[in-house]
């Protein structure tokens, strides 16, 4: 990542969880840690508010999070990955979206901080994926 002038736009983040509360909580935490300058969209739960994932919520999240610099998507558990993949297959191939293979909470925080610092989509996705190497103890 290279230093660049502070701009108003950053890479956007979409958090896809089986739980609406988990997605919203992770988004809140990541926003607090990173200073609130990055668009983070929580896409959690099914369309009727149950545990599960929703292609419609993911699609909406991708649109809301895009500010021209691309979007990094973090899924929580297996079938969230399937939902995101299904959505990405239907997207315009020019859409600049990367799904990161990362621990959900740590990845969300690391990705958002890197986005806030002006990182590009590759740097933001890499920060999320490197989160699996960060030891807590």
């Amino acid at each position: 990542m290279t230093a660049q002038p502070v701009s108003t736009g950053t890479v956007g983040i979409v958090l896809v969880s089986h739980s609406a509360e988990l997605a919203a909580g992770a988004a809140h935490l990541a926003a607090q840690v990173s200073g609130g300058t990055v668009t983070i969209i929580a896409a959690g739960g099914t369309d009727d508010g149950e545990l599960g994932t929703s292609a419609a919520k993911v699609e909406r999240g991708l649109r809301l999070a895009e500010s021209g610099l691309g979007v990094v998507v973090l899924p929580d558990l297996g079938s969230a990955v399937l939902t995101v993949r299904a959505v990405l297959e239907d997207e315009d191939p020019a859409t600049n979206v990367v799904m990161a293979d990362a621990p959900f909470v740590e990845g969300a925080v690391a990705a958002t901080v890197t986005a806030a610092a002006g990182g590009d989509i590759k740097a933001v996705a890499a920060a999320a994926e490197e989160a699996r190497n960060a030891r807590k103890l």
């Binding site: 230093a3 990173s34 200073g35 901080v113 890197t114 610092a117 490197e130």
Partner: protein
């Protein structure tokens, strides 16, 4: 030739999630490699998880080191952020 600088500061509050985030966001804006050392452990200052993993607490001496074209500015900026961000805690 790239310069390297370092400076030590005594924390006035714990290096919890929010101050660690402020530090990593600021560090990420510099081209230089920047690190934080506390009690013999060193973390990449651009990695919020690494900085949080130091578990640095109030009263500890920590060292900010930078190497690269904007090393001096990076160290000055991070020392200033640590002084402010750790005052408010959490």
């Amino acid at each position: 030739m790239p310069a390297s600088y370092e400076q030590q500061i005594t924390l006035v509050g714990d290096l919890h999630a929010r101050p660690a985030g402020a530090l990593a966001v600021a560090a990420g804006r510099f081209a230089s490699a920047v690190s934080v050392t506390a009690s013999g452990s060193t973390a990449d200052a651009k990695s919020v998880l690494g900085v949080m993993g130091l578990g640095a607490t109030s009263g500890q001496h920590i060292t900010i080191s930078a190497a690269g074209p904007d090393a001096r500015e990076a160290v000055a900026a991070l020392i200033a952020i640590l002084g402010e961000a750790t005052k408010v805690g959490s």
